[in-house]
């Protein structure tokens, strides 16, 4: 059978046979020669790889856009239920929304900034829910005005809301021990939660949010 003979001829094992005869080669010179040749080939390959890596590096901007800027579209909600309660909603292309405090949130204006965060608001502690599986079992269903957590400053405390109707996938537990992340990098390590809205809900939800441009315009005017 033609196919079977071909199979024998190209059997991966034949490679092993070549390999072992190579190893059993008694003349050191031959081996040396082979090694040299291989080293040379490897060097060539290395050079080729190197040039491919470097040649692909184009114009390097002074400061490149951040992963957050590239991967997410920024939305904001201002004065949500109370004045100065400004939050961001970063929406990933896959539909997930990262929720956090906008730089103009009133809590940052208090001296010393935020000193504590408490996820035990409403009916349950948001940080205790353990979501599992691809289907996100046990996720809490959020409405846009559902309380997400409470942040406290030396002077006052403020309720942070979910802003988005969907499934609460996770809250940023690091904040419990390191609430100062809210002050230093609210838009990255200081994010508060990740919510997965249903596409239809999001379309409706979006209408209550403003874009980055609108946010800038609005806040610059009021500042």
């Amino acid at each position: 059978m033609e196919i079977q003979t071909a199979e024998v001829a190209n059997n991966p094992e034949t490679e092993d046979t070549i390999e072992s005869t190579k190893q059993n080669q008694p003349e050191e010179e031959v081996e040396h020669c082979y090694e040299q040749k291989q080293a040379l080939e490897e060097e060539e390959e290395e050079d080729e790889l190197r040039s491919m890596l470097l040649s692909d590096i184009g114009e390097l901007p002074l400061s490149p856009p951040s992963a957050t800027q590239v991967n997410f579209v920024s939305y904001f909600i201002t004065d949500f239920t109370k004045p100065g309660h400004d939050q961001y909603i970063y929406r990933h292309a896959n539909g997930l929304c990262v929720i956090g405090l906008a730089p103009t949130h009133v809590a940052f204006k208090d001296e010393g900034g935020i000193t504590n965060i408490d996820f035990n608001v409403g009916k349950s502690d948001r940080s205790v829910l353990k979501v599992s599986g691809k289907r996100k079992k046990n996720a809490m269903r959020s409405e846009s005005n559902t309380a997400l957590c409470k942040v406290s400053t030396a002077k006052d405390s403020y309720i942070v809301r979910c802003c988005v109707k969907g499934s609460l996938l996770e809250v940023n537990e690091r904040l419990i021990n390191q609430p100062q992340l809210l002050n230093s990098s609210a838009d990255r390590e200081g994010y508060i939660a990740i919510i997965m809205p249903r596409p239809a809900d999001w379309t409706k939800n979006k209408e209550s949010l403003i874009t980055l441009e609108e946010y800038k315009e609005k806040k610059e005017l009021s500042l």
């Binding site: 059978m1 196919i3 491919m52 890596l53 896959n94 691809k134 940023n172 690091r174 990255r188 990740i194």
Partner: protein, 502 residues
Amino acid sequence: MSDETKPSAGDSSGLSNGLVSDSDRRVYQAAQSLHSSSVKDLLSLGVCERCVFRLVSVEPFDSDLSSVSASTLRSWLEEASAAAAASSESSCSRVCIVCLGVLQFVFSDAKQTLARSECGSDYAARVTELVKREGHEFDSFGLEVSVPSTVVENERAVLLYLKGKYETEGWVQSEKISVKDALKVLVLDPLKASLGAKSDSSSFHIRLTYSMTSDEVQDASETTHERKKRKTDEENGSTSMSENSFEKVYEPCILSVNCNKMPIFFSGRYFKYSRNVSQTRWIIDDERMGEASVEELIGGNILPACLGDSYKFHAAGREDIDVRMLGSGRPFLIEVQNSRKCPSQQSLMEIEEKINNSEKKLVGVKDLKFIGSQCWAMMREGEAEKQKQYAALVWIARPLEEKDINSISSLIELKILQKTPVRVLHRRSPLERERTIHWMKVEKIKGSSHYFLLHLCTQAGTYIKEFVHGDLGRTSPSMGSILGCRAEIIQLDVTDVKMGDS
């Protein structure tokens, strides 16, 4: 000569039928030995000659029956059972009420033309012609036959009828060969001869599918309830009822001949030189992501060389669309379904060259080779990706210092914890996984203090982009947390994929 062979038969009709060969003689003798009144019954019910042999004989079903024409068989059976020689012409051309013509070598072809073969070799010649049209290269084949369920039901009914009527006879109790297997016995040798091939359980199969003509399919598609009811009736052994059901006149079945070659495999390693080519065809809402795919660029070149129906692409791991695959290349398998031919090593090298020298140079291939049809499981087991090497172009918010270079390269077998990245969290489980960064090496880029090339070797399954930018602090430690500043990944290349066996 014929006198010698028929010591028992005094009459002359056997002589007039001219028993020229040994096989003729054997069949003639077999016909004489059959239980005569059941043969007479079955013939008058409209059971074909070969089915009569099949159902009444205690001897194993003989391939010799293939070479004797139906009309000759009938005359021998009629002679042996002393049945009235009914207008032989018409009764011979009537479609058997049990096998629906299968063992009479009668069938309709795809164009509804009736084909009738006198003997097995004529039939084999017709099948051979249909097989040749498919254009397969093969020197051995496996034969498969499938018949409509009606045939199986008919068989049940006629056996019940026989058992009811000839309960006490020994031959009734013996195991009967099915229509399917009988056809194989009849045509296998003639087929081997006309195809010039051996028969075995090979990787190439010829399938003879008999199906009912459309109007009879409707008949047969009675509700399960009805079928159950009839089944119980049959089991109650009402033979008179069975006899009634035999009166129907059937159409011959439609025969379709299909050839199928077991999948064959090719292995190799691929390179991806473009940040706009996906590994596999990627279509979202009718819109193609990227300008091409590795799968299609390689498979699309191999498939025509095999004259196959379709192909599947399997790779050891994957990279994102915007990540290039350089260096060692990534191992892959191409599985080709129903290939008509197997390309030579020479033509595989030509395919390799064609892909590698294509104008756009999106994808490259090396070590392309044929690996037979059984290697799939072996490859899977031995070749899980273990380690991967990358080159990442990294930007940091402050200038890179000499001491950073040392501190990065001093991190050996660094354990990191990665939460499922936000970018895939919508479709994967929310989990925290530990991964190992085996080593890292910094390569400075001339004229830039904020940018550097990070070479790193990691455990398979590590999310590299997230390791650099930290994914909102969800991967820890990250390049950013190690250097104490914001870090961003500009682009990424895979430079080596180390497999389990290398």
